[in-house]
């Protein structure tokens, strides 16, 4: 039996226990082989202020009162006179107010597409998606974020909110107990995510990371779902996973293609010409997805599942400014 390489990282005990219980689960094996120590240096980046309470590592919308000095600005009517820096007034003769910055916990929503289409390709899109969600949860918990994991399937499953590193085993147990299957209308499922947002006096602006293959025939449906999320003030990031076989199908000859989710069938000759036509369609479809994300300021990252996860996180997501 292989020993998980997670020997000196956090959560190693949880993974070891999982390994012992379910050694045959490929998800556990895949998670045990991740270079967790490399993720310690990564930080999630949210374009929205954190608002999940003090103790976090993300900037809050609150500028004062706080301990950490950030800047000076000219006094305006209505400012609290207690924040006027009288030393500056003595030297310069103008009223300057001290601006401080606060850090709060981040609301992090990790959304996993668990439809049957994710259970495809070698390596499987679902497996890579689970690994990515686990890694992002690990990073988020390390940053004291309030993490929720949402598995979109015919029956939605959720975990959270969880906070703190010691809850990472719960995350792993939840993810390894997840299995792909069934049909899913992704746009509708995304539109229902705001119902999970916590109610409060202040609006919650979470960071929503969606890991999916985004296989929606009409991108406009997806755009409408994103608009709903953005309308809630969420910061949405997308990790679009594709398998190598999706990008480059093999010429199998006379085939009957069966949709993994709907069971719909199409018979055709899978020739080089047909594959070429498919790839053109795929490119166009990908471009439309990317375009609608760009138009809405979403952070979009497309990755192939044969790409190692550490590269995906350290290079691709950093390039997309989801992590730094």
């Amino acid at each position: 039996m292989r020993v998980p390489r997670l020997a000196f990282t956090r959560g190693k005990a949880a993974l070891a226990r999982l390994w012992t219980r379910t050694p045959a689960n490929p998800l556990v094996v895949g998670l045990s082989e991740l270079p967790w120590h490399q993720f310690d240096r990564l930080h999630l980046v949210s374009h929205r202020p954190a608002s999940a309470g003090p103790g976090g590592e993300h900037l809050s919308r609150l500028r004062a009162p706080a301990i950490d000095f950030f800047d000076h600005r000219a006094y305006q009517v209505g400012d609290d006179p207690r924040w006027i820096d009288w030393n500056v007034y003595g030297r310069l003769g103008s009223l300057q107010v001290k601006v401080t910055q606060a850090e709060e916990r981040l609301h992090l929503f990790l959304v996993l597409d668990c439809s049957a289409s994710m259970d495809w390709g070698e390596p499987s899109k679902f497996r890579r998606a689970v690994e990515a969600i686990a890694a992002l949860a690990y990073i988020g918990l390390r940053q004291a974020a309030v993490v929720r994991i949402v598995c979109l399937a015919e029956q939605r499953r959720t975990l959270g909110p969880v906070t703190g590193r010691n809850r990472f085993p719960d995350v792993l147990r939840f993810l390894t107990a997840t299995a792909p299957g069934g049909s899913l209308t992704l746009a509708e499922a995304l539109e229902r995510i705001p119902t999970l947002l916590p109610l409060g006096t202040q609006p919650v602006q979470p960071l929503i990371v969606l890991v999916s293959d985004l296989l929606v025939e009409e991108p406009s449906d997806l755009a409408r779902a994103f608009d709903v999320l953005l309308g809630q003030g969420a910061d949405v990031a997308l990790l679009h996973l594709l398998s190598p076989q999706e990008e480059s199908p093999e010429p199998l000859g006379e085939v009957e293609l069966v949709d993994a989710e709907t069971g719909q069938r199409v018979s055709l000759g899978l020739t080089m010409e047909a594959i070429s036509a498919y790839r053109q369609r795929l490119s166009a479809w990908l471009a439309s997805i990317e375009r609608l994300c760009t138009e809405r300021g979403l952070r979009y990252t497309r990755a192939c599942t044969d790409r190692p996860l550490e590269w995906l996180l350290i290079e691709d997501l950093r390039r997309a400014q989801l992590v730094r």
Partner: protein, 622 residues
């Protein structure tokens, strides 16, 4: 290589063909699962090509499926290899009892059995051995060797007229198979099932299979079971024939009985008798004066299945016709006198030893009681209690209370005798007599002997009946009566039962010629002073001719099938196989299965391996 279930070989073709058709009709297209179909929809056929039926692709999985299907058929066909090392020894036991003459299976049951035997012989392979045992009057090995030799002997085999010694024949067959321990023994008994039950056989070396000729249990038979001629009690000198008839069938029958003078062939009486099913009846007919030979015939328009018992012939010249002059030579009055006087036809003359030479001339039978002359007269002689020191029968001593070691109850001398009292008599231990053989013997020596002394029949009672009280028992007069009848009957012109050996005094020329009822002749060499005729296995009239150039008739006798058991030709047994007692040195039918080694188990394992490989290929392909 042989195939034990050749029909299953069609599956070896049909199953792969089915798999091929399945792939051709349904599986010409691969089924490929894709995450989303919308990216593939609408691709023009000009680009994607035309979807059409075509031959299945020769992939490893497809070839494995074909191999599995073909292997399944081959396994079901049970291929096997024959082991050359175990040849077969087939012993055919042929029931030669009279019922095998029955013609309900044309031409006869015996011929049907012969055909079955030839069929069994034709199944033998080179290197196999065959033997033929005839269960006639006695069990006889007709041939043993190659199937060709046995086939040749089978052509000359004939059914007999005596009850078949089937039990002895099976025992003999078992010995034959046991004598070839390196061969797989097989005993086939070819019979019609119409034989009396026999005592259980001991341990057999080989299981016995009964092959029944298809004799019908509804086949009936009408028979003459016995014919006796006796004096009419009310009219001295007139004779009647008592004829016992039987209807051994499930239906009633009318039996027309014709009585003929066998010498002239003239019919002198005709009767008709109605008999219900499975019944017996006696018919008494007065015989005309001067009739010497009586022939009784069931004169039916349609003969029944067995003709052997439809005709009987007996000699009527002596039986009850004339009085028997018996000369008893005894020193004192003895119990033998009373026993002789009790025989109705006997006119007894008792003389002392001194008066014996004068009285012997008119005697038909001479009885010596407790004495012997120096020379026996040329007449039938009964010797009772021979004295010590006589010159004819050397006596070595006496004995008492010896257990019986030889007793043939069917012998005419012992018929109807309770032998138990004889074990207590005081016996005379005789030296071996070259002209006599024992009929009843004990562990100490013979008690009753018979033979021919210078051409005359002699019976010897080598015991003293008085001390043990045997002369007071009922067995004593019966024994004396049997002896008188035996001594008189062993003269020329007599009636003989089928299967019984017959001894005749040897003629001066030595050999004799026996003419059988079917006309063929046999030359018989004398054995001492006697001619032994043993092969009496036909029904009819036998003639014994002098072997010299004159070929004078020495004797004639008739053999009749007076056997109710054989006349009942209906099968009476279910002919269940007899199991063998397995011994280490015997190759039995169980090992016969080893002679054919089946390969289906090995092939089935191979089939499982193929299935495993197919599963591996399938799972790896996804």
């Amino acid at each position: 290589m042989v195939v034990l279930a050749p029909l299953a070989l069609t599956l070896a073709i049909a199953l792969p063909a089915s798999v091929f058709l399945l792939h051709l009709l349904r599986g010409s297209q691969w089924q490929a699962r894709v995450p989303a179909i919308f990216l593939w929809q609408g691709i023009a056929p000009s680009v994607a090509g035309h979807v059409r039926q075509r031959l299945p692709r020769l992939t490893v999985l497809f070839l494995l499926q074909l191999a599995v299907a073909a292997s399944s058929g081959i396994v079901l066909a049970r291929p096997a290899t024959q082991l050359p090392g175990v040849p077969q020894h087939l012993v055919l036991v042929l029931d030669a009892s009279p019922s095998m003459h029955a013609t309900d299976l044309p031409p006869s049951r015996f011929d049907a059995a012969r055909a079955r035997a030839e069929s069994a012989l034709s199944e033998l392979r080179p290197g196999d051995k065959a033997s033929l045992v005839r269960a006639g009057r006695s069990a006889t090995v007709l041939a043993s060797g190659s199937p060709e030799e046995v086939r040749e002997a089978l052509k000359h085999a004939r059914p007999g007229a005596a009850t078949g010694a089937l039990r002895d024949a099976i025992a003999l067959a078992s010995q034959l198979t046991a004598s070839t321990p390196g061969m797989r023994g097989r005993i086939l008994v070819l019979t019609d099932g119409a034989f009396p039950p026999f005592e259980p056989l001991g341990a057999l070396a080989t299981p016995v299979e009964f092959v029944a000729v298809n004799a019908s249990s509804s086949t009936g038979n009408q028979a003459i079971l016995s014919v006796q001629v006796r004096s009419q009690p009310t009219a001295r000198g007139r004779r009647v024939a008592s004829i016992e008839l039987a209807n051994l069938a499930a239906d009633p029958a009318t039996l027309p009985v014709q009585l003929l003078d066998a010498a002239t062939g003239r019919e002198f009486a005709r009767r008709s008798l109605d008999l219900p099913p499975d019944s017996f009846a006696n018919l008494v007919v007065e015989l005309p004066p001067g009739l010497s030979r009586l022939s009784v015939v069931l004169d039916r328009p349609q003969p029944d299945a067995l003709s052997l018992d439809d005709r009987a012939e007996i000699d009527a010249s002596f039986t009850g016709l004339r009085s028997l002059q018996v000369l008893l030579v005894a020193p004192t009055p003895t119990p033998l006198r009373e026993a002789l006087e009790a025989i109705p036809a006997v006119q007894l003359t008792v003389v002392t030893p001194e008066a014996y030479p004068e009285a012997i001339s008119g005697a038909d039978l001479v009885v010596f009681d407790s004495l012997l002359p120096g020379e026996l007269p040329p007449k039938p002689v009964l010797i009772a209690n021979p004295p010590t020191g006589n010159g004819l029968l050397p006596i070595l001593g006496t004995f008492t209370a010896a257990s019986l070691t030889l007793a043939d109850n069917s012998h005419p001398l012992l018929r109807g005798i309770d032998l138990a009292p004889l074990t207590g008599v005081t016996g005379k231990r005789l030296a071996r007599l070259p002209w006599a053989h024992p009929v009843l013997a004990t562990s100490e020596g013979p008690l009753i002997l018979e033979g021919f002394h210078r051409g005359s029949p002699v019976v010897v009672f080598a015991f003293d009946a008085t001390p043990s009280g045997f002369d007071k028992t009922l067995a004593f007069p019966l024994l004396v009566g049997n002896a008188v009848e035996r001594l008189i009957a062993q003269q020329p012109d007599m009636a003989v039962a089928a299967g019984q050996p017959l001894a005749l005094p040897a003629p001066s020329s030595g050999r004799v010629i026996l003419v059988y009822p079917d006309g063929h002749q046999q030359t018989i060499e004398p054995k001492g002073d006697q001619i032994w005729i043993r092969d009496i296995d036909q029904v009819g009239r036998y003639v014994v001719l002098d072997g010299s150039d004159t070929q004078a008739i020495l004797a004639e006798f008739s053999v009749n099938l007076f056997d109710p058991g054989e006349s009942d030709i209906r099968p009476r047994h279910d002919l269940a196989p007899l199991p063998a007692a397995r011994t280490a040195s015997t190759v039995t039918s169980t090992e016969a299965e080893v002679a054919v080694r089946e390969w289906w188990r090995v092939l089935a394992v191979g089939l499982l391996v193929l299935l495993g490989i197919e599963w591996l290929v399938f799972t790896r392909r996804g």
